[in-house]
């Protein structure tokens, strides 16, 4: 059976207003609960407080960048396993390697994906996560 992923909470941590709002609109349209933060520091606080089902994390941000946010998130008991998709415009291997070593397990290059593709990726990830959660109960 297809896992039900409606009404899941997604946190968007992105400093660019236009990208953040577009993504929020698209995800709200898909019936997700959407939380937004415009820098890493606020985003980290919100993640640890609300425990969203998925975090979309930008890399280059003021106050606390995405990599630092991710490192701190992974230090938390809940945050250690929280699903995160890194959103970046940096497509060089070095940067991606850095993201992986900071605990990022999935990334998208914003300029390379359409909003539709990104929403598709988000849904697929939530389904995988739900399946993983359901398995032990079976």
């Amino acid at each position: 059976m297809e896992p039900d992923i409606t009404a899941r909470t997604i946190l968007i941590v992105e400093d660019d207003t236009e990208l953040r709002e577009a993504l929020k609109t698209a995800l709200t349209y898909e019936k997700f609960n959407v939380l937004v933060a415009d820098n890493g520091e606020t985003g980290l606080g919100m993640a640890l407080d609300k425990h969203p089902d998925l975090i979309l994390l930008d890399v280059i941000m003021p106050r606390m960048d995405g990599l630092e946010t991710l490192k701190r998130l992974r230090e938390d008991a809940w945050g250690k396993k929280a699903p995160v998709i890194i959103m970046t415009v940096l497509d060089d291997l070095e940067k991606i390697a850095e993201v992986v070593s900071a605990g990022g397990d999935e990334y998208v290059i914003k300029s390379d994906v359409t909003l539709g593709t990104l929403v598709g990726k988000i849904k697929a990830r939530l389904k995988r996560e739900t399946e993983l959660l359901q398995k032990p109960h079976k």
Binding site: L19, V89, L90, D91, D92, K110
Partner: protein
């Protein structure tokens, strides 16, 4: 008067004196009774004296010539003496280093000492190649080839490389090395360096700026693209509005691809591009490239013909670089072919290499522009008027990508008739 001239004069005067003395002696000892015989004898003596005089005269002339040649030579020796050449070597603003066949330093001039930041004798006996920095990303291995080249008596001219000075400071140089033979007949070499560190720094700063600017541009472009998408999905647009949206979308996409080009170039120029080798399934890869230009070709009524073996299998290469190469070449072929023309994309596999050939019936490249074709930001004069929004980076990217993969590119073209680009890539990648 030179010594040889004087000697010749004295010698001939001596011979004349001996002849006259001999003649007079002969007359006194053997008085000739016959008047006629005596006359004949005098004539003979004078003839001999005349002959000797002519010889002496000629000798003197030759001697005078020899003297003037010697004088010229003395002048040359004064102008271009050993000291003179030493002075040129010592005082030249260009750093010179004299090495033996193995690259061991025998002497350096003042400029070289300044360049290396050492005293003039400090480097004697050290191997000059130990100062060369091997470029990790450089697949052509220029630096490691130099000693071998030089041993074979070949010239190395104007190679860009990085040097590490004894004090650890890094310098970029334009380096040349040419063979010479010393006074003992031993083969030596002279190295010259032109310091291009400053130019390199400026170049790097420029490239880094382009990289930074391009990355920054990507965020607002993504913002545009995503919001256009939202606009399209709301479905509340009139037909006219929807048409405007399509135009905005096209512009955003074009901007995106320009930025992608700038980024590729800055990455290639910074030398930060590290190829990632993996098996690429050729059939689907090339089909994907063709599909990319399908819409544009249809729009222009340009037919793309493909010609490749049924089963090409896989090639171990960097997919991103191969994409840059094929996409740019095929894109150019379609873009610069006037409506209704033909583009042919052929692939053939030999034992050690893969050959790609992309032929079009397009506008061609004017003969005068062909030399510059692969330079950065260059666009052929007829290309500029046909397609206005090109960056002039495509073929530069192609050239650099092929260089990294260790391949070759060549082309033939005639203005107004079309062009053929031929690329070869090794089938067995070094890494």
């Amino acid at each position: 008067m030179s010594g040889s001239g004087i000697r010749a004069l004295f010698a001939s005067l001596g011979v004349c004196a001996l002849l006259v003395a001999g003649a007079l002696y002969a007359i006194t000892i053997y008085p000739l009774a016959d008047e006629h015989l005596r006359e004949a004898f005098y004539v003979a003596v004078f003839a001999v004296i005349a002959l000797v005089t002519v010889v002496v005269h000629q000798s003197l002339r030759l001697a005078m010539n020899a003297r003037s040649i010697a004088k010229d030579m003395t002048k040359n020796m004064l102008m271009y003496s050993r000291e003179f050449f030493s002075e040129l070597y010592r005082g030249s603003p260009v750093p010179y280093v004299v090495v033996d066949l193995n690259g061991t330093i025998e002497s350096i001039n003042l400029a070289a000492a300044r360049f290396f930041g050492v005293a003039q004798q400090a480097l004697d006996g050290k191997n000059v190649y130990t100062f060369f920095v091997e470029d990790k990303n450089e697949k052509t291995r220029t630096v490691s080839l130099i000693p071998e080249y030089f041993k074979r008596g070949k010239y190395v001219s104007d190679v860009e490389l990085e040097l590490k000075r004894p004090d650890g400071a890094m310098r970029w140089v334009l380096f040349s090395l040419f063979p010479a033979t010393d006074a003992e007949g031993k083969r030596k070499g002279m190295l010259t360096f032109v310091d291009i560190t400053k130019q390199k720094q400026v170049d790097k700063a420029k490239t880094e700026f382009v990289s930074l600017a391009s990355h920054q541009l990507r965020t607002p472009i993504s913002g545009m693209k995503w919001n256009i998408e939202l606009l399209e999905t709301t479905g509340a647009l009139t037909e006219t509005q929807a048409a405007y949206v399509v135009k905005i979308k096209k512009s955003a996409e074009r901007m995106d691809s320009l930025v992608a080009d700038f980024l590729s170039v800055s990455k290639l120029d910074l030398g930060t591009f590290v190829p990632e080798y993996a098996e690429v399934t050729l059939q689907s890869f090339f089909q994907g490239v063709v599909d990319e230009y399908d819409a544009l070709a249809t729009q222009k009524s340009v037919r793309i013909h493909t010609d490749w073996p049924a089963d090409m299998g896989t090639l171990r290469t960097d997919a991103h670089l191969l994409q840059m190469i094929t996409s740019n070449l095929l894109g150019n072929a379609v873009k610069y072919t006037v409506d209704g023309g033909d583009v042919r994309f052929a692939v053939s596999l030999e034992r050690d290499q893969m050959t790609l050939s992309i032929t079009d019936t397009g506008i061609g490249i004017p003969a005068a522009d062909q030399d510059m074709l692969f330079s950065k930001l260059f666009r052929a004069s007829n290309a500029r008027s046909l397609v206005t929004d090109g960056t002039g980076l495509g073929l530069y990217i192609v050239k650099e990508a092929i260089r990294i993969l260790g391949g070759t590119i060549s082309f033939t073209s005639k203005e107004g008739e079309g062009s053929t680009f031929v690329v070869t890539l090794p089938r067995h990648a070094r890494r």
